[in-house]
Subunit: 198 residues, 2 copies
Amino acid sequence: MSLLVGQFLSNLNPSECKVLNKGDFLFKQEDTALYIYVVEAGRICLVRYTTEGNSVRLHTSFCGESFAEAALFSQRYHCNAIADISSRVLCYSKKEILSSLHNNTNESDIFMSLLTNQIQMLRTRLELRNILSANERVLQYLHLQTKPKSSEINLTLPLINIAHELGLAHETFYRALNKLEKEGIIIRQDKKLYFAEK
Amino acid sequence: MSLLVGQFLSNLNPSECKVLNKGDFLFKQEDTALYIYVVEAGRICLVRYTTEGNSVRLHTSFCGESFAEAALFSQRYHCNAIADISSRVLCYSKKEILSSLHNNTNESDIFMSLLTNQIQMLRTRLELRNILSANERVLQYLHLQTKPKSSEINLTLPLINIAHELGLAHETFYRALNKLEKEGIIIRQDKKLYFAEK
DNA sequence: CGAGTCGTTGAACGGAATCAATCGTCGTGG
DNA sequence: CCACGACGATTGATTCCGTTCAACGACTCG
């Protein structure tokens, strides 16, 4: 879902493509920040180590998503990037991106627009998580995914991934869909979902 | 917690300051987007209405926070802004902000930096929500709030607000703190928290 | 054909929300 | 100055529902 920035970067030429085995570090805290990244395959997690040796997972980046964008404006990385599973990441040179942003107002507008959209999406996801009832949370999510002026619900990911995005166990998600269907709120046809007309 | 962009805007001159009673609309879906905003007092919620008349809450902006940043790069607002309680918001002219960003590479760098930091924070908050156990979630949050090279935990907000930020009932949050203290992991002195040294 | 993944359903458990009650503090206005 | 109300902090008891574990069918892909 945070493909936005990733897609912008896809139009540029990556400086490098790194292959990582599970557990490999892509970068470490305090390393000089030279690149920002897009996950091409696998899964990368960002972890911060505190001075007492505790670790906190800050984020997990999935396929197609960008990460470490904040490194564009920071000398050093502020966390560690570790491959959760074997992965492949595209590396984009900060220097090139920055010069492109500086020399081209249009580019920087596009980039800022992607960033603000990203913020919007994250806020919305967070707001969804404030809904405690699984059924209600799923329902609201479905409303958000409905194509404008139609009753078709746009589900790009496998259900199991959507469940994770919603912060639900996949079983709970299936059951919620089931219930919504039984209540006549939605209709399922093979892999597609629709809202029932009243 | 999303004060970042708000603070950037605070350095500019707002075009206007609007006072809203509970339930008042600040703007509506499809209105021409002329301003972006900072909440000076109260609480603003962003709501989208679907074609079938359903409503989905996209975000809630609290005191000090900015919202509708994406409107900078959009002709129209894509949701409604409604005062949750009586509120006061500062309005910043898109035109002025955009021209400032276009004429000054330094300004636009600062702005982009704030946006990427905002994204980072939101991702982290979201990642915390993936931790199911209240105790563990609180513990990880406290680690994140610890001042570098000290064991003091930086809590700016009242506990009850932190509880909400963590997506926990405040009672649950208090109990989690209690448990961490009993387990000898943290120490509480009046309003301050510390990690116990080993 | 078998491994892996997604989708689905059942049963049981645990823990977080909820309701309720109390205390302390702070600010406000009479 | 004190009474009052609002709000934050705290603890107890109960309920509910989402997670977890388990098992199975369908499908895809190598």
